[in-house]
């Protein structure tokens, strides 16, 4: 437990350091990374493919803008945008030797063993070690589990468990966390179920009103 905490502290202070170190050179380079143009291209191509499956709109023998018209335009835009972003990324790489966006890590640059796999691994490790990223992952995971078990367990139990989990992760003390979770779940259930007649999933435990 203790060890774990130390680790977290260490990695966070490391990050602070790297952030201050890289501040002058990467303040504008951080915005450019390779994954963004790739994502845009994926969106564009997918949109174009599925748009082409949509029917054409023909009226009195003339082909007019139909359901596929607008999405196709957008698909073309995303492909063009991907090229533009790629060019901007390349020009950024040219101007800054230390790399752009996700690869801007002075520490991996400083080491002589700069094989791609090492960099990738150290990056994954850095991302995974980061307290904030862990919290985000935990929160999203908890949210998904929450929605999955909500219909069967009901709002009161799942809401309580979810709220407690998040509070404890965010360093709340246990007793206030339990109290707040109970109060929050009951108040929300009261507002939505009693006042607005929203059928929140009841599950195995429900309010008396």
């Amino acid at each position: 437990m203790n060890d774990d905490k130390q680790n977290v502290n260490e990695s966070s202070s490391n990050q602070d350091q790297s952030e201050t170190l890289s501040q002058p050179s990467t303040s504008d380079t951080r915005k450019y990374s390779l994954n963004f143009p790739i994502l845009l291209l994926l969106i564009g191509v997918t949109t174009l493919y599925f748009s082409s499956q949509l029917p054409v709109f023909i009226q009195r023998g003339q082909r007019l803008p139909g359901p596929q018209y607008f999405p196709t335009m957008l698909g073309v835009f995303f492909c063009v945008a991907s090229v533009v972003e790629l060019l901007r990324y390349i020009s950024c790489r040219r101007r800054h030797a230390s790399g752009c966006g996700d690869q801007a890590d002075p520490r991996s640059e400083a080491t002589t063993i700069s094989t791609v796999s090492f960099r990738l691994w150290s990056r994954i490790e850095r991302v995974a070690r980061n307290w904030g990223n862990q919290s985000v992952a935990l929160l999203l995971g908890a949210l998904l589990v929450f929605v999955l078990i909500l219909p069967s367990l009901g709002f009161l139990l799942t809401g309580f468990a979810f709220s407690l989990l998040i509070l404890l992760r965010l360093k709340a003390r246990p007793v206030p966390a339990v109290l707040l979770s109970v109060a929050l779940v009951v108040i929300i259930a009261f507002i939505f179920v009693s006042a607005f007649r929203v059928p929140l999933p009841r599950g195995i435990l429900s309010l008396p009103f």
């Binding site: 966070s12 915005k31 990374s33 963004f36 845009l40 969106i43 949109t47 599925f50 949509l54 029917p55 709109f57 009226q59 003339q62 082909r63 007019l64 803008p65 139909g66 359901p67 018209y69 607008f70 999405p71 957008l74 835009f77 995303f78 945008a81 533009v84 972003e85 307290w131 904030g132 919290s135 985000v136 929160l139 999203l140 949210l143 998904l144 929450f146 929605v147 909500l150 219909p151 709002f155 809401g159 979810f162 709220s163 998040i166 509070l167 965010l170 360093k171 709340a172 707040l180 979770s181 929050l184 779940v185 929300i188 939505f192 607005f196 007649r197 929203v198 059928p199 929140l200 999933p201």
Partner: protein, 501 residues
């Protein structure tokens, strides 16, 4: 008029309205919660009330939140909402001089005055504009929608091109569901829940609620609690004469704020900065700015509340929202079964008058609620950040579920929370996305209806008088800046060459 007043003062409207204003103080004064998020969280609740009560809640909460954002900005130099970042300059300097209470009293009065001015302009400008808009055809609406989108891309923080990407992503999401003219399902992949499109409200809660929470959670420093300011003295008697002395600053800032707010895409935050700059330019002693000048407090705060009112002008008249808050308002109105646009001034004149009256009264109520907020500020900050995060999370979940009693909508909310978080990390602004989502059907329908009417000929889109003006405005918005920069560079090169020999 009296009848309307009695109707608006009915407890079924007054109570939620007042509660929403208290909520606005809380949301505005808590750094990390914005006026936009407050609106997003209110909409699901307001769904179960009359449209007027729902709109009263939104109006009350947003005007209060924009003021309340100045409270932590003045005391702690942490803007509570993006629109109050200009208040960190002179307001905070006054706090350092031990005059924080005075600065905020000044701030509060000018917020109400600026808001009042914005609403006044809204009341006088909107109906005649609506008369003009009645003559618009699909070509004009198409350009208007595109103009709104490009403006929002240009003025948003971050770079313009990514703003356009965000807007187009919003447009793309808006095409999911049944096609507007033929009824053919698009991009639904057999999901029945997607037939009616991606729910606007859950998407928006995800973009502005969940993604903010993810941002807060990912940054450990944000969880740390700011220190609390000492006892606050409120001095109305000292502040009122100062406001009177700077009445022209208030008037000018209110005017600038309303106009900037009315431009599609430009919101209260830009209004505040521009009027701060103008006030400095016009001031007799501009050197005092940044060291605790009264005008430095007055100008931005009059402008941001006026900007909020100004944003309602295009939203009500054309159905083209002026900022992300009114984008949500337009979405909410569609949800209540009201269609914003010129016709609303004829078909639901009563409701429009109700909105106007509520907006005016809110400015007066703001003084009382605001004073309460200044006093209670210490308490608000004592609320631990982790509790705030959990409260926002729970309301985001239940709020997105409650609209259609649909679990599917919660997934939509989560998906857009992740999308918003990812996009903001990549320097892509979110307001154009939400505008694209809400304007998508309007832009697409008007483009296609127009093209079908002209048998596929695009020329009439450019030759109708109002549309040609809008098309030129669109061109200038998108390319004016870069072209000007290019010209300037060429000129300076030319000048340098001539000077060489």
């Amino acid at each position: 008029m009296v009848e309307l007043f009695v109707q608006v003062m009915h407890p079924s409207i007054l109570f939620p309205w007042f509660m929403a204003m208290l909520f606005g103080i809380f949301a505005g004064a808590t750094p990390g919660l914005t006026a936009t998020m407050a609106t997003a969280l209110i909409v699901p609740i307001s769904y179960y009330m009359s449209p007027l009560a729902g709109l009263a809640m939104i109006i009350g909460a947003t005007f209060t939140a924009i003021f309340a954002g100045d409270i932590p900005a003045t005391f702690l130099r942490i803007p509570g909402t993006p629109a109050s970042s200009a208040a960190t300059l002179d307001g905070y300097q006054l706090t350092l001089q031990g005059k924080g209470g005075y600065a905020l009293t000044l701030d509060l009065i000018c917020s109400a005055l600026g808001g009042l001015m914005g609403v006044g302009i809204l009341i006088f400008v909107a109906p005649p504009l609506a008369q003009l808009a009645l003559r618009f055809s699909s070509a004009e609406y198409f350009w208007l929608g595109l103009f709104g989108l490009s403006m929002s891309a240009v003025v948003s923080k971050g770079n313009t091109f990514r703003g356009i990407i965000a807007a187009c992503f919003g447009l793309l999401v808006s095409t999911v569901g049944m096609d507007v003219t033929t009824g053919h399902p698009r991009f639904t992949f057999g999901q029945l829940d997607l037939l009616s499109g991606v729910g606007f409200i859950p998407a928006m809660i995800g973009l502005f609620g969940l993604s903010e929470v993810l941002k807060l959670v990912s940054n450990r420093d944000a969880l740390r609690q700011p220190s609390i300011a000492s006892a606050v003295k409120i001095s109305l008697r000292k502040a009122l004469p100062v406001v009177w002395r700077h009445k022209f600053t208030v008037l000018r800032s209110g005017g600038i704020g309303t106009v900037i707010g009315a431009l599609p895409g430009a919101g209260a935050d830009i209004a505040a900065w521009v009027s701060y700059g103008m006030a400095k330019k016009f001031s007799r002693n501009p050197d005092k700015f940044g060291t605790g000048a009264d005008e430095g407090v007055i100008a931005p705060t009059s402008a941001n509340n006026a900007g909020l009112a100004g944003a309602w002008i295009p939203a009500l008249v054309f159905g083209v929202p002026g900022d992300s808050i009114t984008a949500i308002v337009v979405g909410a109105m569609l949800m209540y079964g009201l269609r914003p646009g010129p016709l609303i001034f004829e078909q639901s004149r009563e409701l429009v008058n109700g909105i106007f009256l509520i907006a005016v009264l809110t400015q007066f109520m703001l003084i009382g609620v605001g004073l309460l907020g200044i006093k209670a500020f210490g308490r608000i900050l004592q609320l631990p950040r982790n509790a705030v995060i959990v409260i926002v999370l729970m309301f985001s979940i239940v709020g997105s579920f409650a609209l259609q009693n649909s679990i599917f909508d919660i997934y939509i909310m989560i998906a857009f929370g992740i999308i918003g978080f990812y996009l903001e990390k990549n320097d892509v602004p979110l307001p154009p996305l939400i505008l694209g989502l809400i304007l998508g059907p309007m832009v697409e329908r008007n483009l296609r209806v127009g093209l079908v009417r002209t048998q596929g000929d695009f020329l009439p889109f450019l030759t109708r008088p109002v549309s040609s003006v809008l098309a030129i405005a669109l061109f200038i918005t998108l390319f004016g800046g870069p072209i000007l920069g290019l010209l300037r560079r060429l000129l300076s090169k030319y000048a340098a060459k001539r000077n060489e020999p």
